[in-house]
């Protein structure tokens, strides 16, 4: 049996080790990865550095589901956000989402800005991976620019405030809109702007 003083030290040492290993295991929880951080940060914010914020949806699950109007998938119970720092200032946050498209997964990356005294809004949206048949329409500025300035309370409904990318890509367009909605609502509910 170790003396009392040492017991505390060893428990602390073990705890620190376990905590250091948690990010390694939880990194696998979120399916959607951010594939090109440097290029995207340059495109969205003109450069900067980022850090990772991993948040469990936890007790906010029901509220988020109510606001987006559907259940979260099992891989959405833990979300990653990447606050971007430029010249010592936080200029925004990047998040990614894996949606179920018509012909495969659609990975969406969004840049969110959080201006003072105003709700967070979308700065830019891009598709980082997809297999859709009308992928050029889905990736077009005409379609993606519609999301600029949208907030968590925006409808983000194809056929209402968002026009589909192509008549043959209605489902794909809906998946992108839903991904943006989910990320914005989660950003707001989980107070990512303060983390």
């Amino acid at each position: 049996m170790l003396p009392k003083g040492y017991r505390r030290s060893y428990v602390a040492l073990l705890l620190a080790t376990v905590l250091a290993l948690v990010p390694l295991s939880t990194a696998l929880a979120s399916l959607c990865v951010w594939r090109n951080p440097d290029a995207d940060i340059k495109e969205f914010f003109g450069g900067g550095k980022y850090r990772t914020v991993l948040e469990r949806v936890g007790s906010k699950k029901t509220k988020i589901e109510k606001r987006i109007g559907q259940k979260l998938d099992s891989d959405e119970l833990q979300l990653k956000f990447w606050p971007v720092i430029k010249d010592g200032q936080r200029v925004g946050t990047v998040a990614s989402h894996l949606g179920k498209g018509d012909y495969g997964a659609i990975e969406v990356v969004v840049a969110i800005v959080d201006p003072p005294d105003a709700p967070a809004k979308i700065k830019a949206v891009k598709i980082q991976r997809d297999r859709e048949r009308y992928r050029s329409a889905l990736r077009s500025a005409t379609f993606l620019d519609q999301f600029k300035g949208k907030q968590a309370n925006s409808k983000l409904q194809v056929g209402e405030d968002i026009k589909e990318a192509h008549p043959g890509a209605v489902k794909g367009s809906k998946v992108v809109a839903l991904s943006v909605k989910k990320l914005l609502v989660a950003y707001e509910e989980l107070n990512i702007g303060t983390k």
């Binding site: 170790l2 040492y6 250091a20 399916l31 012909y103 495969g104 048949r133």
Partner: protein, 395 residues
């Protein structure tokens, strides 16, 4: 108060110094244990992975056989091809149970940071990989799954990453502008098979402009001991092909690992030596600081053997507690260490490569006991040789 209690009390008197010394011992032991378990786990996982392939021989186009085999194992693209009929000719040989042809095509997507691997196969591959099961039903997959030219069977990870969950869902392959229908999703195997998209062989040949070509034939023998004889027969029959015996491949990989291991163990030996010197230094300082106290002990009846035992007990306690903490640290951090080491070892197999190995734990305990005994001798002798009168006079 007995010697053990007195030794523990002495160690407690300098908590920071004791803790730092124990930490250096713990880190050395943790590294030693991790490497020992990782090494045995690596070989075990590699052998398991090769056996799980159900393949005794692999026939690939001429070139570097190990490079070709590693490309097949790791999902790379082989640039040379064999003719399709080679599989039938191999199957006709005595001792061959199954000869399964495949055409591998990799679509590299640097902008997406990923590579999609399409594997053209037929029913023979399902027959060869008879441990594959279908997700949901648990049924054994058969060649019927790929009977339709636009069918695709997804490996477990491929289905997960593409969010295809049900039979009948569509999959578009933009690079060849083709639509496929999911006819099956495989259960996780823990191997590279999980990441592949399986197409009908003839469809893959047509879509990837390799009609009549294949990149490999995987061969299962009726009896693994026939491997050498069949391999010789194949070499004579197929001068433009490389015949790879999986046992040879395993031998080459472990030899590669052994050379890396020698270097790593040299570094660990240095780390253990440094921690032994650290222990020796700590105990020696302790003896110098406690000269007067040792004198008092001697004056009150303690013999030289008692003093020697006391200091030696302290050293052993220091190293054993540190060593035990190191073992705990290694077990707790095993997955993290594995993830890091996997990046550096050649051809790291899928699946777990570290687990608690009692033999390795015993080696570590013996090693650290040796360090404790060795590092404790000089300080203990020094303390035992202190003259009582001089010690009592010292400040």
């Amino acid at each position: 108060m007995n010697l053990t209690n007195l030794a523990m009390k002495n160690l407690r008197r300098r908590p920071a110094r004791t803790l730092l010394t124990m930490t250096s011992v713990a880190v050395s032991v943790a590294v030693l244990f991790s490497l020992l378990t990782f090494n045995s786990g690596y070989q075990k996982a590699l052998r398991q992975q090769l056996q799980q392939m159900g393949v005794h021989l692999m026939v690939v186009p001429i070139g570097c056989p190990y490079e070709a085999a590693s490309l097949v194992l790791q999902g790379g693209e082989i640039e040379n091809y064999l003719e399709s009929d080679v599989a039938d000719r191999i199957a006709a040989l005595e001792g061959v149970a199954i000869a399964a042809p495949s055409l591998m095509h990799a679509v590299v997507k640097p902008d997406e940071g990923r590579t999609d691997i399409y594997l053209g196969i037929d029913g023979r591959t399902f027959e060869l990989k008879n441990w594959w099961r279908l997700e949901g039903s648990g049924a054994v997959p058969t060649g019927d799954l790929l009977a339709q030219p636009n069918a695709v069977v997804l490996g477990y990870d491929a289905a997960l990453i593409e969010k295809r969950e049900e039979i009948g869902e569509k999959l578009w392959v933009p690079e060849i502008e083709s639509e496929f229908t999911v006819s099956g999703i495989l259960e996780a195997t823990g191997s590279q098979d999980d990441g592949f998209f399986y197409l009908p062989l003839t469809t893959a040949q047509r879509k990837f402009n390799q009609v009549g070509k294949i990149t490999a034939v995987q061969v299962r023998l009726t009896d693994p001991s026939l491997a050498s004889g069949v391999a010789e027969g194949l070499e004579a029959m197929l001068p433009n092909a490389e015949i790879i015996r999986m046992e040879e491949l395993l031998g080459s990989m472990t030899a590669l690992m052994d050379s890396a291991r020698a270097l790593i163990f040299a570094i660990v030996a240095v780390a253990i030596t440094i921690s032994a010197l650290g222990v020796l230094n700590t105990m020696l300082m302790s003896v110098f600081e406690r000269t007067r106290e040792i004198g008092v002990l001697r004056a009150t009846g303690a013999g030289r053997l008692h003093i020697f035992s006391l200091i030696w007990s302290e050293t052993l306690g220091l190293t054993l507690v540190g060593g035990a903490a190191g073992l705990v640290l290694a077990v707790v951090g095993a997955r993290g260490v594995e993830a890091v080491i996997k990046r550096f070892v050649p051809m790291a197999p899928q699946g777990a490569m570290t687990s608690f190995d009692p033999r390795s734990a015993m080696i570590c305990i013996i090693a650290i006991l040796g360090v404790g005994l060795f590092a404790g001798i000089y300080p203990a002798l020094r303390a035992a040789s202190v003259r009582t009168i001089q010690a009592l006079r010292s400040e």
